[in-house]
């Protein structure tokens, strides 16, 4: 079976690197499935999950917070400000972040950037979803 190499890179170093038979990402224009041999493409990503189907038919989940994907025939590179593999997500911490973000969004106080608060809320929800696998 044909495979493609998947790299997920953040400024703090590479997070994920493996072979895959299919990758699906959430681009800003919609969900996108990538098979080996895809035409070279660049697309910006939304906050969401990257699903990597490994050659032995397992699915691995990685939470990413935006960025973009660069696709070549044998390689898929995802560049994002931050990414976490499902196994390494700390659920307790993610829930705490969710609570904080919710409070901030609801409070709508002056001096708090609502857009930023909503973004961090999205990131927190995304992390929890990825960890618990309910997508």
């Amino acid at each position: 079976m044909k495979t493609t190499v998947v790299n997920i890179v953040t400024p703090d170093g590479p997070v994920y690197d493996s072979e895959a038979s299919m990758v699906s990402v959430r681009a800003t224009s919609g969900e996108m499935g990538i098979l080996p041999g895809h035409i070279p493409t660049v697309a910006p990503l939304a906050i969401g999950v990257v699903r990597v189907k490994t050659p032995d038919n397992k699915t691995e989940l990685v939470a990413v917070s935006g960025g973009f994907v660069e696709i070549r025939a044998e390689q898929v590179t995802i560049l994002t400000p931050s990414a976490e593999v499902a196994d390494s997500i700390d659920l307790a911490r993610a829930k705490e972040a969710l609570k904080r973000a919710e409070q901030r969004v609801q409070a709508k106080q002056e001096g708090i950037d609502v857009k930023r608060a909503e973004l961090s809320l999205n990131r927190a929800i995304n992390r929890i979803n990825v960890k618990e696998g309910n997508l």
Partner: protein, 284 residues
């Protein structure tokens, strides 16, 4: 001539100082090698993002305000120093570089907005009456991307909003453990895009412009992070050299003082003998 006790005291205090400085030297050298490793870890990300930016900027007619130079009325400076001293001339040089850059680029303080990473830069420019828009104090020795994101984002945002027409970074570039080069680097507008290394022509989903919209701010922010990593490695290197010099100087001082101490002791002994002999002679 100093008394025996005074000399002894000075020797002891110099010794304990040198213990501290040599410990600080060791600490800095291990921090430096970690900072160097961090900087290396960041390289793949930077190369990749540079590749893609180059591919898009060269491959399409897409244009973006961040790529276009405009007449400069106001400049933002991102200046990176340390929080504490004891790093030799590191902070002084970084600040001097920044002030020369300002003199060359701007006519007056009103045309300058400062983003400071590090207490020293923040305090200095505030005292000098510059506008310090934001400062990040208490950055860890091994910073993560999230530590600098706020400043980077605000600076990039000010450029996109048109509040400033140029963003310049001043920081120390790490060459090796003994030499750091203080440099000013124009962050925005982005004019120094390398020619594309890959000749893959990409499809853009949804369009080149929209990708640049996402990509360029991320690119600029990661450049700031890269500069911070570089500056941190330099800071540890500068601190290491400073502490090594201090330890060496202390050693030299201890040697000199020991000679002085021995001479003083010998003088005291000689004097005692002379007194005893003189006393015995008087009795005869």
């Amino acid at each position: 001539m100093a008394t025996l006790r005074e000399v002894k005291q000075r020797i002891n205090s110099t010794k304990s100082t040198s213990k501290i400085t040599s410990a600080m030297h060791l600490v800095s050298s291990s921090k430096m090698s970690r900072a160097e490793r961090n900087a290396k870890k960041y390289v793949p990300y930077m190369n990749k993002i540079q590749d893609v930016v180059a591919a898009i900027a060269n491959g399409t007619a897409a244009s973006h305000p961040m790529l276009v130079e405009r007449p400069v009325k106001k400049t933002a400076y991102i200046i990176i120093t340390s929080d504490r001293g004891l790093a030799g001339a590191y902070n002084t040089n970084a600040i001097r570089k920044a002030t020369t850059a300002m003199e060359n680029r701007n006519q007056s303080k009103d045309q300058v907005v400062i983003f400071a990473a590090g207490r020293i830069a923040s305090d200095f420019f505030m005292k000098q009456g510059y506008t310090v828009a934001d400062s990040e104090i208490g950055l860890p020795d091994q910073p993560a991307f999230s530590d600098i994101k706020r400043i980077a984002r605000t600076a990039v945002g000010m450029f996109t909003d048109g509040q400033v027409d140029e963003v310049v970074m001043c920081y120390a570039h790490f060459e090796n453990a003994v030499s750091q080069v203080f440099m000013e680097r124009k962050l925005l507008p982005i004019t120094d895009i390398a020619p594309a290394t890959t000749n893959a022509s990409y499809e853009f989903e949804p369009s080149g412009e929209e990708i640049l919209e996402v990509l360029l701010p991320q690119y600029a922010e990661s450049l700031v992070y890269g500069a911070l990593l570089d500056a941190k490695a330099s800071e540890h290197a500068a601190r290491m050299t400073a502490m090594k010099n201090a330890t060496d100087n202390a050693k030299e001082l201890i040697n000199d003082l020991t000679v002085l101490y021995n001479r003083a002791r010998q003088a005291a002994i000689t004097q005692e003998i002379t007194e005893i002999v003189a006393g015995a002679a008087a009795l005869e």
